[in-house]
């Protein structure tokens, strides 16, 4: 039986419309395109590489900005490369870090090869076992609406939500590739000097 999935662009747009000041970090590939498609902003930090880095950049940012909420939007393949990060983040226990895993169960950027998450690995369960304060798997846009409300409320620790999305390659919405510029404008948004 095929379980329901959701449209990734609509889901991400909902999350970003409700970001409420959250700082956003995106994993390489389609999650970066999804976030860019919802509107380019100075408080988005897009990755084009450094696979496995998104959640951990989010951790460092959350620790440096404890008064702001940080939302990482990444894919199942990118998060699989940072499996151990869930242990590191759980031990660090930030109260302002939410991981959103856009899970199409495939490596979409490289030819839609099947990933581990289509073969029984559930990041919500892994994160729960690591000690995240809240985790869930979502399969509908209605559940995303509920999640948007939940994300506004304070957390006791890091949270991770798996959004089961349709496996499809949508038209790319490309963020700037100048990583220095993206970094500097993000820091400027927080009032820090460029360099």
């Amino acid at each position: 039986m095929t379980l329901p999935t959701m449209d990734r662009r609509v889901a991400v747009k909902k999350l970003l419309a409700a970001r409420d000041g959250a700082l956003v970090v995106t994993g390489l590939g389609s999650p970066s395109y999804d976030v860019h498609a919802a509107g380019d902003r100075n408080d988005n930090y897009y990755l084009w590489g450094a696979m496995g880095g998104a959640a951990l950049i989010g951790l460092g940012l959350a620790q440096a900005q404890p008064q702001k909420r940080v939302m990482v939007v990444t894919g199942d393949g990118e998060q699989l490369m940072a499996f151990g990060s869930l242990a590191t983040i759980s031990v660090a226990r930030p109260r302002n870090l939410d991981l959103i895993v856009l899970d199409n169960q495939h490596f979409g950027e490289t030819g839609m090869q099947s990933s581990h998450t289509g073969r029984g690995i559930g990041f919500d369960k892994v994160a729960a076992a690591c000690g995240f304060s809240e985790t869930a798997e979502l399969r509908s846009l209605e559940e995303v609406d509920t999640l948007c409300e939940k994300l506004r409320r304070p957390a006791d620790g890091p949270r991770l939500f798996v959004l089961k999305i349709t496996a499809e390659n949508l038209p790319r919405s490309l963020p700037p590739r100048d990583a220095v510029e993206i970094k500097n404008r993000f820091r400027a948004h927080l009032g820090f000097a460029s360099c």
Binding site: L23, V25, Y45, L47, G49, A50, M51, G52, G53, A54, L56, I57, G58, L59, G60, L61, A62, Q63, A64, Q65, A82, G84, S85, A87, T88, V91, A92, A179, V180, I182, K183, F186, R187, L190, F192, C195
Partner: protein, 190 residues
């Protein structure tokens, strides 16, 4: 990991390069230098040579610390900390440098300040042959991905090297690794 190795015999083994009295305090001096450079964030995979720094930072309420499952996590975390306005330092052993290579494309390409302190193995009175390949490849690997690499072989030199490396990293936007020679750390006792 080296820090958890149990002592199998009394520590009577002759030490190849016993540090002079003036060098025994270098870990404390490195901590002072890093604090003076504005470091308020630290990530690490433990190594015996980093024991004092890990303890001092861990006890410092002004410093956020993270224990890592693998060294490249610290590279990404340091970038995130910089995005958020904090200066971070990453501590690892030379064996961990190999784990970091692709993640280092982040600070190199995006020009994030980066300061990494690497305790060396596999290069001086090494007893474990498994440490030698990565130890010998450490400096070349770091240079190949684009880091500035500096070495120190004495305590005094290390303190000075870390101080100026912090300036290069955070004032000149460089990605700097300081290699702490195994000769300085002394022969491992076990």
């Amino acid at each position: 990991m080296t820090a958890s190795v149990q002592a199998k015999q009394p520590e009577t083994t002759a030490v190849a390069s016993a540090p002079a009295a003036s060098e025994k305090q270098w870990p404390d001096q490195v901590y002072d230098v890093l604090k003076a450079a504005g470091i308020s964030h630290m990530s690490y995979v433990p190594d015996a040579g980093h024991t004092t720094l890990i303890r001092l930072f861990g006890a410092d309420p002004e410093v956020v610390t993270n224990v890592l499952t693998t060294e490249e996590e610290g590279i990404a975390i340091a970038a995130g900390a910089w995005l958020g306005g904090k200066r971070s330092v990453v501590l690892m052993q030379s064996s961990g440098v190999g784990n970091c290579i692709n993640m280092l494309s982040l600070p190199v390409h995006a020009r994030f300040p980066l300061l990494v302190l690497v305790t060396m193995r596999g290069e001086w009175a090494e007893f474990n042959p498994w440490q030698v390949p990565m130890g010998q490849a450490t400096e070349a690997s770091l240079k190949a991905i684009g880091l500035r690499v500096q070495r120190a072989e004495t305590g005094d030199d290390l303190v000075e090297t870390v101080a100026q490396a912090a300036a290069m990293a955070f004032d000149a936007d460089q990605q700097v690794a300081v290699l702490i020679g195994q000769r300085l750390l002394g022969k491992k006792k076990w």
